[in-house]
């Protein structure tokens, strides 16, 4: 979008545009009469260029503005086999559309391929958020709000992660206008990898940014726990063995106790006589030792000794060494029982500190993952082929590969084409919106040319990359090397 207040660039040279008979002379930072071309950095540039991505290992920075003056694209500079056309800037006509804006034929590994490129308009779309954290964010089913409006809810918690589902057709269009506006803006921002603030009913305040550590109630999360208390015991039992008589790994889900645990029994450890509160699941594994909170191990515990219910005289002995640690290794205390069988805090022995640190090392950085989920099963398919269901089948049969801005997608089983894609793998500013409200996102379908014809594809619309660069301004951006090359 062009705003009415453009910044002035340092150069004062106007550029001439010959794209149409008006022949505007455009001042720096401004656009011509059509608002399609503008003067940026002293060059005439198309405001909404199509973005091609180039897979060239050696290239460092490859954003090349394609100048109108250069009519012929010099094929010797760029190898067509190294170009993948993304749908960014491809455009689509709303609310109607014509055959997908670009259907590009190319040859890869001696096979004629075709990539159908369009910016899809999605009313039925949402985000699935995975927040790596021990911290409690809110009860399942709780509403998630943005600026006070309901924009989603908490879904089933996963291992080491809290999960949210945000957006969707009902919040976009089924609620109040304000709800729709806020939902739409939130969805664009999340997809474009910006930071967004949320409040969970009966839960926490969250700041989520794709690929960054989540901020929960004002505190940035550092690490993802290596596992629940039981898992941690299972992993590190051998490393503690001999240096300590009991280890209690505190967790909001399952708190583990080494001596009772299968792992400790296997090592021949003696019972410590320490009994933690909560409900015993299987030996050494306890539920509901603590409530979710912001303390040790994602619990509401700040003093770990709180969770010890009682000790068994005659089993527990003076000198018994007890390590209490959280599942991220961030909180750890070492106790030795005195002659009155009271646990006394002592300096952590180096050897135990090493294992505690190792727990920490095994915790990956906490991250918020944002997955865009959308249905491309509707009228969008008609831009590809005259028989939409044949496209769906070819996707299900793995003859057609789908990407979003070049990023690989997961296609859900079952009917229709429902995709899920990690937004961090997509180019900058991939997401836009239209007034419905609905979200605009790039989508590309890649397949053999022969398969394209067989499924009723719009063969008369197929063009070469060269033709495209003649018609439209194109920018070439670096291919994200972490994404699989769609032509392989």
């Amino acid at each position: 979008m062009v705003s009415n207040s453009e910044e002035m660039s340092t150069s004062s040279e106007k550029v001439n545009c010959d794209a149409c008979p008006i022949l505007c002379r455009i001042s720096p930072g401004k656009t011509g009469s059509c608002d399609r071309y503008g003067n940026f950095n002293g060059k005439l540039q198309r405001i909404d260029p199509v973005i091609l991505t180039q897979n060239v290992i050696d290239q460092n920075e490859a954003v090349v503005p394609f100048e109108k003056q250069t009519k012929k694209w010099d094929g010797s500079v760029l190898n067509p086999e190294s170009i993948f056309p993304t749908a960014l800037g491809a455009g689509t006509t709303y609310p109607d559309y014509k055959p997908a804006p670009f259907i590009i034929a190319s040859r890869h590994h001696d096979v004629d391929m075709v990539t159908v490129v369009t910016e899809g308009i999605f009313s039925y779309c949402s985000y699935k958020i995975k927040i790596d954290t021990d911290r409690y964010v809110g009860p399942e089913k709780a509403s998630v709000r943005c600026q006070g409006e309901e924009v989603g809810h908490v879904i089933t918690a996963e291992y080491g992660s809290q999960m949210l589902s945000l957006g969707g057709v009902h919040h976009l269009t089924g609620g109040s206008k304000q709800e729709g506006r806020v939902t739409c803006q939130m969805m664009m921002d999340l997809g474009n990898k910006k930071s967004v603030e949320f409040e969970v009913d009966e839960g926490s305040r969250l700041v989520i940014k794709a690929g960054s550590a989540p901020i929960i109630d004002g505190e940035q999360e550092e690490r993802m726990r290596v596992g629940c208390g039981s898992a941690t015991i299972g992993i590190f039992a051998k490393q503690w063995h001999g240096h300590v008589d009991e280890v209690i790994v505190v967790d909001e889900h399952i708190t583990g106790m080494l001596s009772e645990h299968q792992a400790g029994r296997f090592l021949g450890m003696e019972p410590s006589g320490i009994r933690v509160r909560g409900r015993r699941s299987t030996p050494g594994r306890y539920f509901q030792v603590a409530n979710p909170g912001h303390g040790w191990g994602g619990t509401d515990i700040s003093n770990p000794l709180e969770i010890i219910d009682r000790i068994k005289k005659g089993v527990t002995y003076p000198g018994l060494r007890l390590l209490m640690v959280s599942t991220t290794g961030e909180d750890a205390t070492y106790f030795v029982f005195d002659e009155n069988l009271k646990p006394c805090e002592q300096k952590m022995p180096k050897i135990l500190q090493k294992v505690v640190d190792r727990i920490g090392e095994n915790c990956e950085p906490a991250c918020s993952s944002v997955l865009f989920m959308a249905g491309a099963g509707g009228s969008l398919r008609a831009g590809v082929t005259e028989n939409p269901v044949s496209l769906t089948r070819s996707v299900q049969n793995l003859l057609t590969r789908i990407t979003c801005g070049g990023a690989p997608v997961y296609v859900w089983p079952g009917g229709g084409i429902t995709i899920m894609v990690d937004v961090t793998k997509m180019p900058e500013n991939s997401f836009g919106s239209v007034p419905t409200p609905a979200i605009v996102a790039p989508i590309e379908f890649t397949m053999n040319l022969s398969d394209f014809e067989a499924l009723g594809g719009h063969m008369e619309q197929v063009q070469n990359l060269e033709d495209l660069t003649q018609q439209r301004e194109t920018l070439i951006a670096q291919w994200n090397q972490d994404n699989p090359w769609p032509y392989n």
Partner: protein, 292 residues
């Protein structure tokens, strides 16, 4: 030099005409042979439209005055007619979008009338030039319209259905956020009139008058925002902060006064004015809106 871009949009049989700043989507609702023929005529006419306008751009950028030299092009004459006798500063450029829409529609209608049997097979036709719309209806048909006040806040703010019986055949929208520059602060003023060129001028002038003095409203000389603007150094709106209710209402009522003048003068049928959280609608109730 870029060629004009013209092609039928395969899915819904619309005609897309693009050249420079002109972005037209046209539709003829009729059997295929009629539609194809009319589209071909429209394309031919469209080929030289931009050049015709550019040739007389100097005249068209002059603030209207009875003493100005008169242009020759058919569209230019429409533009001039739409702004003639204005009591306030205006140039024919204020009518350019609507006039181009009118011209292309006239071409379609002219060609349709040439053939005896064509017209009765056509339900309706419209030419949408970037939101300024000229349309023709056959008896029993109607034209539906939706307005989005602010493209940055995506929602359909109002829906209207215009039946054959209505006098409305032209629609235009003006606001400070769009491509055109505005002296006022309206998000959108949509005008329904008998032609697109008249609607265009009215929308522009009504939107210009939706105005108040308030801290935070930023204006800059038009030429600083857009090179060679026909508005010269007249201040145009570049930013509007969130406004309190009272100020919003005040500004809208300023525009409403202008809209009322246009209605009383018989130039427009209705106007829809919107600014942030408020909207006003004014309609022609002076005489029967629908003929029997």
């Amino acid at each position: 030099m870029q060629e004009t871009n013209a092609e039928p949009l395969k899915r819904n049989d619309r005609l897309y005409l693009q050249h420079g700043p002109i972005d037209i989507i046209a539709h003829v609702e009729a059997p295929e042979e009629i539609r194809i023929h009319l589209y071909s005529c429209a394309k031919n006419r469209f080929n030289t439209i931009l050049e015709e306008l550019v040739a007389e751009l100097d005249l068209l950028r002059l603030p209207w005055s009875i003493n100005n030299p008169v242009p020759q092009g058919s569209i230019a004459l429409k533009m001039l007619a739409a702004v003639s006798d204005s009591q306030v500063f205006i140039t024919p450029m204020a009518a350019v979008a609507g006039s181009v829409a009118d011209e292309v529609l006239n071409t379609l209608l002219f060609e349709a009338k040439k053939q005896d049997s064509f017209l009765k097979h056509i339900q309706k036709m419209y030419v949408n030039n970037g939101g300024d719309i000229a349309f023709w209806l056959n008896q029993g048909s109607s034209y539906s319209l939706g307005v989005v006040d602010n493209a940055e806040i995506p929602e359909l703010n109002i829906k209207v259905c215009l039946p054959y019986e209505s006098r409305v055949r032209g629609i235009a929208t003006s606001g400070w956020r769009g491509r055109s520059l505005s002296l006022g602060i309206a998000d959108a003023v949509t005008v329904l009139a008998r032609s697109a060129s008249i609607a265009d001028v009215a929308a522009t002038l009504i939107a210009n008058d939706v105005n108040i003095k308030y801290q935070g409203i930023e204006k800059r000389p038009a030429s600083e925002v857009k090179d060679d603007s026909d508005l010269g150094s007249i201040p145009v709106t570049v930013h509007v902060p969130p406004l309190p209710e009272e100020q919003t209402s005040k500004a809208l009522h300023q525009g409403l006064r202008t809209a009322r003048k246009f209605i009383k003068a018989g130039k427009i049928e209705s106007a829809y004015l919107s600014l942030q959280q408020q909207r006003l609608v004014i309609e022609n109730n002076l005489d029967e809106i629908y003929n029997e």
